[in-house]
Symmetry: C2
Subunit: 225 residues, 2 copies
């Protein structure tokens, strides 16, 4: 019997996207509470009482415990519901999978969040064009590294690590969604492109896309069609 989980989420958040994919892959029942990061709801006292860091995603457990940080939540979900596994068995393989996920989640995504955009705007007068340039500068070098790590390893299969979906695929897919949102050219990344095409055939990934969430604006949902 799994706990009754509360998923604090917002359609725009890539970190929430990663958790959404894992919840779907594992078929874990949960309720969704929308925290509108576009209006600063995550910074209000009511949400800071839930997660003092004021970020989503967060995952509330029935005993009042609140988990945060997408990768910590993904590992938690993998531990409470081990099937299908999101990590391989062997330690070096697990490290490879985790490191691929971290390249996006720890090196790229933190540079693209709204609070960084706000700080760049305030401290460095970054406008929309410069923001896109900044985002490309974060996304593309990391993508080149991920492509090299995927293309040059015999461990790469249909997905990032063999033929089963892992945390690495959730990280890659999150990176890929960000690349699309920022209009990055993907031609230089054929291995990642092939893997993401495979991932796109899996309902858990397709249905989790930010623009397909019920809290996404109608216009944005239209773009996703």
């Amino acid at each position: 019997m799994l706990p009754d989980l509360t998923f604090y989420s917002h359609w725009r958040s890539l970190a929430a996207y990663r958790v959404r994919v894992a919840l779907a892959l594992k078929g874990i029942a949960h309720k969704v509470v929308t925290i509108d990061i576009s209006t600063g709801e995550h910074r209000r006292e009511s949400f800071l009482a839930i997660n003092p860091q004021g970020v989503i995603p967060a995952l509330g457990l029935p005993d009042g415990t609140v988990l945060s940080q997408s990768l910590a939540i993904l590992e938690y979900l993998d531990e409470i519901r081990p099937r299908p596994p999101l990590l391989p068995q062997e330690p070096a393989a697990r490290a490879r999978v985790r490191s691929l996920a971290l390249i996006h989640a720890a090196d790229v995504h933190p540079l693209l969040v709204p609070r960084v955009r706000a700080r760049l705007s305030q401290q460095a007068s970054i406008d929309d064009g410069a923001w896109k340039h900044w985002a490309h500068g974060a996304l593309l070098p990391a993508m080149q590294a991920m492509e090299a790590l995927l293309a040059n390893s015999p461990s790469t299969g249909r997905f990032c690590h063999g033929d089963a979906v892992t945390l690495a695929d959730i990280g890659l897919s999150s990176q890929w969604v960000a690349m699309a949102l920022f209009g990055c050219d993907t031609a230089a990344f054929p291995t990642a492109s092939r893997i993401c095409a495979s991932l796109g055939t899996i309902n858990a990934f397709a249905q989790a896309h930010p623009l397909r969430q019920p809290d996404a604006p109608g216009a944005a949902r239209g773009e996703a069609q």
Copy 2:
């Protein structure tokens, strides 16, 4: 019998510091190869052949596999040498520990690395004073969140989670070293301060400090006395 590990490191890297602490805590034999990030050695072809992302730390295994990303390496070390454990047993406790580590490693540290400083300097004419302001803006809100999570939880003990050192302490300590390097006031963080004082009495932490590494410049080592 443990593998013969090669640790690609540099005294200045906080991510290398995190791995250095774990290697020491677990008493894992390894050789150190210095990659001088101050001269761009990590971006040269010779190192890109080892780690295509061009970042340290990296951990070379005897079969030629190279692991990267500090948190992936920490989990690997914990799996190949489970004593002393760096994670508690229970899934929600493990998630708490991982999320505390990720607040620093995934939300703060990526904003402080040399490549971000270089981009800010090039794209936004950030000078030394503005860089310090930028760093404080990354460090202090996260520190406030960590302090709240530590101060308000019955799970906090002598260390971040109970009375045994975990990944969370390695993350907190890395954050604390960064706060000191950037001259942040720590008065508002009594729980973190108390824990870091305890950590400072442990050789694995004290000896791993960036300024105590043999590749640190003499002047810098003098400051650490």
